[in-house]
Symmetry: C2
């Protein structure tokens, strides 16, 4: 399974470096949106000396490979999390910032209708749901 991921890199002529591994591992170990700085801190625990620029570059690469997704939170800087399988949307807990679950996409059904109705050929969309998970409500 790590081998599959390795191949995804190699097929694109990209190297599967320790730094990229570390960034990916951080995302895998935390099912939550993480800011660049938090990712950088955690990566340095696994691989001391890793530079911030490398974290930026690794995340960019992971998004290109569709292994991670970039999201926008209200608090300014961008955050990242593991890419879900298939077309789904994250439900994020506003307290602990974890991605509780990815839900089926309700937009695909209606986008064709909307295209007809509005004259806009709808191609993509961005959807995030926010709430409070069971743990955080107690």
């Amino acid at each position: 399974m790590s081998k599959d991921i390795k191949n995804i890199f190699h097929k694109q002529g990209l190297k599967f470096t320790p730094q990229r591994r570390a960034v990916l591992k951080v995302l895998q170990d935390t099912q939550a949106y993480l800011s660049i700085n938090r990712i950088h801190t955690k990566v340095k625990e696994l691989l001391p000396g890793t530079g911030l620029a490398t974290v930026y570059r690794s995340l960019e690469t992971l998004v290109e490979l569709e292994l991670a997704v970039k999201v926008h939170l209200e608090d300014g800087c961008h955050s990242y999390t593991l890419a879900p399988e298939g077309h789904r949307h994250p439900i994020v807990c506003t307290d602990c910032s974890r991605v509780i679950e990815y839900t089926e996409c309700p937009i695909q059904d209606i986008s064709k209708k909307l295209s007809k109705k509005t004259g806009v050929l709808i191609k993509t969309h961005f959807l995030q749901l926010f709430g409070k998970c069971e743990e955080c409500r107690n």
Copy 2:
């Protein structure tokens, strides 16, 4: 109608200053997402000398008053547009960046079901649709 808006400010103990008027007018005159810098440029045409910090502060105020909405586009900096009436979501043209239309919210219907199913009490969501408008397709 400008009087209504004036009252919205006054009810909150806020002043309806020329700078805030200018920012609002720029949003009204352009049915599109505008970056802070483009807003600043256009505001200075109406009111030379207006500072960038004031544009930031005015937009923050307009969002608080629900007269404008802040959105996140891929290209980094935040953008703003006029707030739609009621709970609706923007359909944005990826070519001309105009907000073509606001569509009915398809999430409200399903959020209760999702809350039950996932155990997360869903409170808010963020949805933007992207496509290519008729004009830009020709």
